[in-house]
Symmetry: D3
């Protein structure tokens, strides 16, 4: 448990450090030290074999001064309340830094989603929304996909929310399929963001893309699109890796082939 | 932190022990191992000196199978999320054991209420209801007084809830002043309960009250009324104590005088 | 207008006088000097001849410390906002004096109900509920019949409220027909109250009913039942009067006959 | 289809007949000729084999003049919208005849419940509540058990409603298990009602119970308890039957044994 | 009745035919075979002569996968539940085919609107919204004008909805007058759609508008604007007709004059 | 009191005058003669010295035919219910004249805001929202700043409303700080409006700005920005004044210096 606690404590330490560097008034900085509200629930899921299992689930609404809180929901065995709080803090900072009308939130379920059948995963996803139903909403807190949650899962979540609150409509969950009201461009948004930052950096440092070699750590949805876009812009992607291994080629990799192979 | 965790772990251990002794089906017992929902917030209170302070506050709705959850809110520096969960578990058991149509809940604020002014205490009490507002209600979860929360504090809480939800009325908070819709007999209910158990035990063991000596540990609202009623029934109260000290007399104590003196 | 203002000013003056006599702490008395909330609306009614007319309508929720406010709605040409406030103040005092869990309220429409057709009266009654809909409710404010409003009118009002808020049911309006959920005994409750007071007074003063002569001013619903009950108890009713005239008989009146005649 | 239509048409015909016999004013009688609101939905149920099946489901709120509508939900292959309307009409009459503060309603699902697994039945029951959720509620319409719906099914329904509307609590569905807030005496209420009528009839006709022979058609929950109570009161039960067969004994049957055997 | 049933059965037959032609997966096609929810009510309208009449009214929410359902309300003596379902099915297909974020719905009242006075029509229109109030809303189901319902009727409906749900505002009903928040261009939208299709067809078939003769069947709001726009674009309108008759001229008709004449 | 009444009476008189001049149909004009709804409350504020004071507060929703009502809240000792009604009437006319989808409203508190401490002012502002909470909202009535209410006050009001109705978000109060969701350009909008009217007038009258002298009465937020913009456009500002005095210079004033000085 000591390990998990330090995740949030470390985040607060870093926040204090930067607040001091930026000469932020301590009374103001203090407002960011305490998560506004954190809800812990246990989701009961009927497994395919008839057994009832309980999964710890969390949602943290860190700070909503700038607008409804917003942040992903991750499904991972290592999820803890402490990690969710730390990530919600960083979401608050990220939204504020970009001038978005959103506060920061985050959620997660302590589960190995790869060990669940598709129907079990659906029941867990719907159960997450049920157990958090009074805590989320278009003007309260807006869940999004995160580690091991994808379009289909967000579609289930959105559908469950609509059943609970028919009058609210399809604005509570982002990252759902485009056909069900999802956002165009959502698919490669994370990768494109990294790519745009790299482009901007190259411009500021006056570097030629084709003289820069790039290694991409993590070749999931974000990493793939980032690598693809950088590659299309002339950068030389020499290495990519994911949780199962990596591939290296000094003369540059063919990203679409690797993606297809994967 | 390790200390706090063990409070709830110990409670679960004891629950498992008794469930095994009582031959309760493991699938059923499992339902009691996980608190349904626990909300952690931080209440911002403007102190009389202008400073803004944040107090960690908790509310656990352990299990609502039998009805809306019910349980006290304590104001104490040693309150932790873990303790609140353990107490909410015991409330679930207590309500079920008595056949009441209630589930178990509990809440608390990590604060030394004696260090607050009356106005600061009012702001904290109202802040508790504000930060928990979507989590409580007459058919959801019903707060009650507990350690260092009294009639006046429950009156503030009830008033705050009525402002937030005028259509719900006065049924959300128990233990408020009788004039504001509180329950008759609430004042000495806890002490009277202990007294009735003692009477029943004496009857079953065929003991004469006046031959039994009694020591009362904790001479707050519960302890005083228990001592008073036992004394009136002929028991011999030889000792009472509270957080500041104790008093002993082998020939029996005059409870009303001690109470008045205190 | 100056006239109307004095109705409420007079009421406050009287309140201050009694509060001083009763040695009530000025800070507490102050709480009763200001009506909590008063809503003025204009009800648009389509008359039978096609014309649209607007009627000023009021509802005052004077003080809800003791519970939801409660009070009648009168339909009368002389109704003013000021009068409604004054009557709502006295309702607050009356409920408190009897230890009822209700605060005081009152309402009215400036209209001569006798000049309306039955369908116009229905539209006005339903319009009253529509225009006050967010201001009333079983745990907020509970209208009742008053001068020139009766069972049928309350039935329309209750029906209108149920259409607006189907989930709330039949608890918002009292004084409706018993078949629609009205209260048994409501019919003669006002008159019976006066009768019970008279009986109590006679008992305390050691008077024989049949030696007391009674004059009843106002022979509407309240006055008739009071006269009937006093008469049945042996009191000698020598005079009754209403807005159109009066009748006197030193040897006592036969109340049922007079009622039937009327 | 023509068959189903006639169920309701027949009911209306009979109603008109009795209204005429009872000299009820035609304008009033007319109010009972049209069901206020009937909702038809299709419940999607994921079968154990992965297939998605749709079941037609109905709920009729016939007339709510006297209070929230009330009536059972039946699960049967022969359920039609027409039949549900007819039964809801009779519920309106029954509640009115007894002076209960309820209007009449009824619901049903066109399904052979015996062909479903227990988990499929749970999903169907919960789906019924979901698809009717805005149409029912403690002050709107209150479902109860009926043909082939029992305590367990009502428990699922109540649980589903509480998830959708946590603030409403346990008052929406009757006939649930006593431990979950069900009504004491619900189990044998239908049978006891019939038994009480029989007793009253015997008394009025001046008959000796032990000289009366009784045949019970339908030996489900209602029939069994009726037979049991009549038998205990001395009536001679000579025959009982259900959908699978019957049993006859001129010397009288031992009801408890037959029930146990079944 | 058999007639009406076949309207929907025919629609389903045609749907199955096209689904098979388009090679749509049967499990997916199945989702379109059952209307999600259909509400039948009877609207009580007080006629100008004092009589109370009941009109059958329907609203079908066929499928809301793509967003809130949307569709017109028709007032016509031939309206049946079956027809409403069939039209709601086609609305679902139409919205999906155009990629609109709407599902399909439809409504209707079985009434001859030409036989009602203006005030009776207003009461009927408002009654429709009252009886469907929990079934519609900006994110649930959005009524629009259809056969024999116009701007004024939609204005009444919108006004009634705002009285019932003041917090929802003016987004529930489309087709209301522009001054009350209606859509610019709504007036000729239906006709303009047909006109645009005709223009597109002419372009694809390489036809000169002035060499094409056009006959317009139905010269209501849709037909008139279509004829007007086609005429302005050079098409030769040789015939128009409505429920009362038709007019033919091989040399082309002057649409504005005909419209004015009508 | 007679004085205050005339404010509204005068407004109605002027309205009747213009309606007659504009040949508006009397039945239509009549609709503007009666404020739809006016709420009077008394806000209890705990002063810094511990005393409880009550401030009369008003909100008038004059007419919402064109959309949710909209209008400022003023804090001034001379605020009366009558003035608030008159101003709400003019807001209705102003919104309609500009074709905005808003009706007219207005509010105010009878208080000298300069006599309150910052914390007292915060409590009063929050109290205003609490006491009007059921009367306002994004689709009902939208408060804005007015005399002696500013960005900070609107920020408190918005924050209070979000606490009461978390699901509604930040759309209820306008004029709040941009960082909290306020409107860009709000700061100088009032002044810019006047400036644009002046520019338009000059253009129509064919006047050269630099040949026009301008005197600005009231040098608060509106007056300052108007003077600044006119001055930047070449107009010659010869005089400005506020509640404390004025300044005159025939050769023109340097507006920024005066603003800074103030």
């Amino acid at each position: 448990m000591s390990h998990q606690i330090s995740v949030f404590d470390e985040a607060i330490e870093r926040l204090n450090l930067y607040a001091a560097k930026a000469n932020i008034d301590p009374q103001t900085a203090k407002m960011l030290l305490h998560p506004m509200a954190t809800l812990e629930t246990h989701i009961a899921v009927r497994m395919d074999n008839g057994e009832l299992r309980y999964f710890p689930a969390y949602r943290c609404r860190y700070n909503d001064t700038l607008g409804p809180t917003k942040g992903g929901v991750r499904f991972h065995p290592s999820v803890t309340e402490d990690e969710v709080k730390a990530l919600a803090l960083w979401m608050s900072i990220k939204c504020a830094a970009l001038g978005l009308p959103f506060g920061g939130g985050k959620g997660g379920v302590q589960v190995d989603p790869k060990a669940l059948s598709k129907l079990e995963l659906e029941r867990l996803s719907r159960g997450y929304i049920r157990s958090m139903s009074g805590f989320i909403g278009p003007d309260i807190d807006i869940p999004a996909p995160d580690v091991y949650t994808n379009e289909r899962i967000m579609g289930w979540m959105d559908n469950e929310y609509r059943m609970l609150f028919p009058a609210v409509g399809q604005s509570t969950v982002t990252g759902k399929p485009v056909a069900l009201g999802g956002t165009l461009g959502r698919q490669d948004a994370t990768g494109r963001g990294t790519y745009l930052c790299a482009m901007q950096l190259a411009r500021q440092l006056n570097l030629e893309p084709d003289k820069i070699t790039v290694a991409v750590q993590g070749f999931g949805n974000g990493g793939y699109h980032c690598a693809r876009l950088l590659s299309e812009a002339g950068f030389c992607i020499v290495a990519v890796s994911d949780s199962k291994g990596g591939i290296l080629s000094n003369s540059g990799l063919d990203i679409p082939s690797i993606h297809q192979f994967k």
